[in-house]
Every structure is written in C-alpha cells, then in structure tokens.
C-alpha cells in the first residue's frame, strides 16, 4: 500500500553545462505529466553566482507543473527572487552547512513549504556518512542525519536526501539510511540517488517511508530518451 498522502515525483535535472535550450527537455517532461520538477544549477555555487533568474523565468513559461529551483541560493533575497520568478520552491544545499540561519530566515518570510533543504552525502571507508557541499566537491565533517534534524528544526519544509554513491549507479536507493531519516524527522523526505526502476521507487516509498522519490540521473539535453524512465504507469497503478 503506497502512502499516497503526498506522493510526488520529481526529476532531478543536474545541469552540467548550459549548452542551449532546456525547452525541449522541459517539453518532454511536461508531456510525461510529471508531478513536479526539481532543477538544480550545480555550477552556481562554485562559480559564486546567484540563481539564474532568466533561466527560472523561462522555465516558468514552459513548465505546466510546479517546480523547485536550487543552485547558488545564499541569501534571503536570492530566495525571494527565485520564488517571484515563478518557482514554487527553493532548494538550498551548500548554505545548509555554511549559513544554516538562511533556512529559518527564508522560512519566516516565505513560509516553510517553499524551502527544501538538500543534503548530499557519501560514506567513507570506515562506514561514516559525511555531508558534501559544492555539488559534491567538498567534504564536511557533518553527519547527514544530524543535519537533517537540524534543518527541520530551523524550518525547512522538506528535505531532499541524495546518496552521491548511488546516484547514476542504477543500484537503487540507500534504503536503510533514508529510513533512518524518515524516522527522525516529521517533514517530508525526498530520496534520491540510484533509482533505475519503478520497483526502486516503490521500495523507497514503502520501506523507507519516503514522501517522494526524485528520479532522473544525469539528464542531458541531447538525451531526452532518458525520460522514458519517467513514463511511469501513473495513477491507476499508484492507487494500489
């Protein structure tokens, strides 16, 4: 029995290089009637630039479903700009570690439902999990579970948890860890990293008690065929 209270599918759209129009890929996702789109500009934080407002506006023009935008969000003004440009939610990653007060400041002004805290993690050889920031390039000493708890306390509306090891591997979600997160926080947890099949999604929802699963691996503009993964049987099946 799937907990369908807020079953929500997103697509993680990691933009490695802006080589042109996202219009086409967006159109494919719209065609597939995805519930929600997550768009992460992974270069923004490294390049020390703020959110790409023009891009957000263009996506808002073409996107017939809600979308969350992240990448380079550092200040409350950044959050405001992203929301006013047409995104429903803002995803905050690196700042969760470097400036966690941003979460509560933003939640107070814009409401916690607009704020998604994003946590990327890896496990080291000793089995310890550590949070990585700057799109997986910088290791911190933080424990991802502790960070998740802190994010809830500070006012995040949802938490997006990504296993860097699993991502792109197609070996499924890190079920055990995700379950430890959902057991510790009350806000919705979105699991990401490793999804290759519908069964992976179901497993995430049923075993880890996730509210949603983000799917999509590394989608490039030239490979819209990857969206075949998104062609889930949708509603009739999900009702079961």
């Amino acid at each position: 029995m799937i907990k369908s209270g807020g079953l929500w599918k997103g697509i993680q759209f990691r933009k490695h290089k802006y080589v042109g129009d996202p219009q086409n890929a967006l159109r494919v996702f719209s065609e597939k009637m995805v519930d929600e789109l997550v768009m992460l500009d992974i270069e923004a934080t490294q390049e020390n630039r703020g959110p790409d407002i023009d891009l957000i506006k263009r996506v808002a023009n073409e996107c017939y479903m809600p979308f969350a935008f992240g990448g380079g969000v550092k200040t409350v003004e950044d959050v405001g700009r992203v929301l006013r440009s047409g995104a429903e939610k803002v995803v905050i990653g690196t700042a969760t570690v470097e400036n966690p007060a941003l979460i509560e400041q933003s939640a107070n002004v814009y409401g916690r439902q607009s704020i998604v805290a994003s946590i990327d993690y890896k496990q080291d050889l000793l089995g310890r999990k550590r949070v990585y920031i700057y799109s997986g390039k910088k290791r911190t000493k933080m424990d991802p579970l502790a960070l998740a708890v802190e994010m809830e306390q500070r006012g995040a509306g949802e938490i997006l948890v990504t296993s860097i090891m699993n991502e792109g591997s197609g070996k499924g979600l890190d079920i055990e860890f995700l379950k430890s997160v959902t057991q510790k926080v009350e806000i919705p947890v979105i699991g990401s990293g490793g999804v290759a099949t519908i069964e992976d999604i179901v497993e995430g929802i049923e075993k880890s008690e996730l509210s949603a699963v983000a799917v999509g691996s590394l989608v490039t503009f030239s490979g819209p065929h990857r969206s075949v993964l998104i062609n889930y049987p949708t509603m009739p099946w999900l009702e079961e």
Partner: protein, 210 residues
Amino acid sequence: MKGIIVDLGINNIQSLQHKVARLGVQVEVAERATEIGRADFILLPGVGHFGEAMSRLRDRKIIETLENRVLSDSVPILGICLGMQLFSQVSQEGDVTGLGWIQAKTINLNSENKIIRIPHIGWARIKPVISGENLLLKDIEEKKRFYFVHSYHVKCEDSRDIVSTSVYEDVEFVSCIRKNNIYGTQFHPEKSHRDGMKVVWNFLHCAGLV
C-alpha cells in the same frame, strides 16, 4: 479581443501570460485602472496574503474599475487561487473584507474542528457538483488532478455558486466557483498540465471569447 491579467506585484505573472498566449488569446499584464477599463476579459491570479492583496488593489485604485467592468459591464473574470478568494466578502487571513462579489467567506482550512497540516500543497481531484455550472469543467475527467497551494478556502453560502469541491485531509472545500460572469479556481490551472489549461480554455469559451 483583449484580456488583462491584473498584476498585484506579488509574483511571476509573465509565465501565466505566456501560457494564455499559447492558447491563442492575446492578454496583457496591467496594474492601472485605465488598462483594466479596456479589458474584454480579466484574469486575477494571486499568491500570498489576502490582506496584502486587498491593500494593493486599493493602493492601485483599481477596485472601482474592476467593479464597473465585472459587475456592471459583465466582463468575464477568472480568479485563480488567492484571486478566487478575493471575490469573497471577508477573510480570516488578516480579518479583512474582500471584494464581496460572491456570498462567501474565506476561512482557514484548519477551522473545521480538525487540526490538519497546512498549507495544502499538492495534487488533488475535483468533484463537480451537480447543481453547479459545469461548463468550466467540460471534458475534464473526474480522475484528473490539479495543483493546489493554499491554507484558506472559500466557504460559499450560495450553493449555486459551487462548481466543484475537493478534499484535503478529510476537509471538503470548494475548488471551483461560478457566479454569472465571475469564475474562480482554487487550484493553479497554469501548473496543472493540460487539464489545467483546458479549464482556462473552457473559461474563455464560456465567456464567448474563443
């Protein structure tokens, strides 16, 4: 045929404009009374606080023009989300009076003696009400879902105004309304895929614009 989207300065209107234009209908963004005074149809979108939105309507001095066009000239208007709530007489959000064009009050989803998580954010079905005007929902199958983001809902006192209802955590609320030339959706049609835009299309069609 020219439409106007009322800009309350709160959020991205351009994307709605872009999407309506895609339906083949010309629509402009406006915040001044003179522009609204020339509209053949009006879209009133809204996100945010009821009190704040009413203030802005007042500050921009457009309430009178809106009333003339909508109530006297019968220009069709579609209120979206907060826009639909603004048609009511009063809202708990800020304890503020609304436009008062429909017999209804805007109240918190929480007030039905239940404590539920708000805001309601997500996809839900809409159930057409038999006695209501259903042309707004023409060709929309009952199992289709629409995207909602709201903490308040419109409680209609005249059931003839109710086009559809939806349910969130056991609370039933009005999701579409129609009173003569005044239409409203609590959901965001521009974020509800094809069926959402079909509802906008139906509004334009009902209003004799397409």
